[in-house]
Subunit: 233 residues, 2 copies
Amino acid sequence: MAAKVTAIAFDGDDTLWHNERFFTVTQERFANLLLPYAGEGVLERLHATEMRNLRLFGYGIKGFTLSMIETAIEASNGEARSSDIKTVLQWGKEMLQNPIELLEGVKEAIESLRERYRLMLITKGDLFDQESKIARSGLADLFWQVDIVSEKDLETYRRLLSRHAITPDEWLMVGNSVRSDILPAVEIGARAVHIPYHTTWVHEHAELNEATQGKVWTIESMADLPGLVESLT
Amino acid sequence: MAAKVTAIAFDGDDTLWHNERFFTVTQERFANLLLPYAGEGVLERLHATEMRNLRLFGYGIKGFTLSMIETAIEASNGEARSSDIKTVLQWGKEMLQNPIELLEGVKEAIESLRERYRLMLITKGDLFDQESKIARSGLADLFWQVDIVSEKDLETYRRLLSRHAITPDEWLMVGNSVRSDILPAVEIGARAVHIPYHTTWVHEHAELNEATQGKVWTIESMADLPGLVESLT
């Protein structure tokens, strides 16, 4: 008999609000911008630059913009013009001001669940940008706790549960990323709900495996979450 | 009779470890790089760009690097070469990897004070970069609480004290910035210790005023802190 769930944590990007599609749109623009200089394969180079810079920049739009600029210069063998660099800078600023669009059913699910559970928001990325997104989402006041972290791994989840005095068996993690939201939550002994997003950054790809059986549920939409949580309790 | 101090919070940059001087060195290099294109006055333009971008980028090296790139393109009327932009990018990466050099007396003061007080570290800036600096400082385990915030104002300090169940009259804030560390701490009813750093970013300049009398002490070095705290208690 599983313990009763008392606290539910939500990932932010692509779980509560759209995010990856803004990166996808910018990447397409970036490939087009560099086509005259660098031809095809620019996005593979951009991805390689991002991965190389991750240990210095962490996740977020500012680091992504710096990696685009670096890739533009390198992939064009220095032929990219300063007007192109300025365009890339401008895209970064636009991304930082993108409107926050909640995914379908999010507001209703949060409002329903907060009546009986302690709700947490755990987002990964740039502190300043995530704070701005949380504020613009209109959801901030609905959560019991909000935490912005630089990485989502075992240590991070253990530290947060300890800080908020929650045990893993009473905690449920909800997110779109198997790698960041689901696997580490299960590994510390918690349960998790996977809500796949139609686009997932290749860096976040991972597969559910045998270890997650009976501990992870996959649903199509946030609208299905209150019913699922009810059935677990 | 003032209440007994039970918790002491420290700012990080230029209070525990050197920071601003890395920005100063980079700014000098930046002015030299742009001298052929833009002449004098580049640093004033850089500062104006930083201030304009602050609401989008927040504080930190990544935002500073993006603002340098933007200024390089604009101040040179687009004549800056991509090799110059690449140089600026490289400076940003170097800054993110700068060695952490503690200010004089810091280690000893922290080790002495932690025996009788709950020590907190409250730093402002980029989450990923600050986490990296705290880890490299070797001080992380000496603090009771570590908080990284995007802005240091009344609301931030109120929120942190509330989260950690501390009242302002038992709390002492120690830092180099009158604007970020001293004035808002005094305004919420706490006491503060100002340890001026020889260089302070112009954005952080502020003056001590009448309202801080009897609530703020200025010392020259962290080595003087344990004695001062002792005299308050």
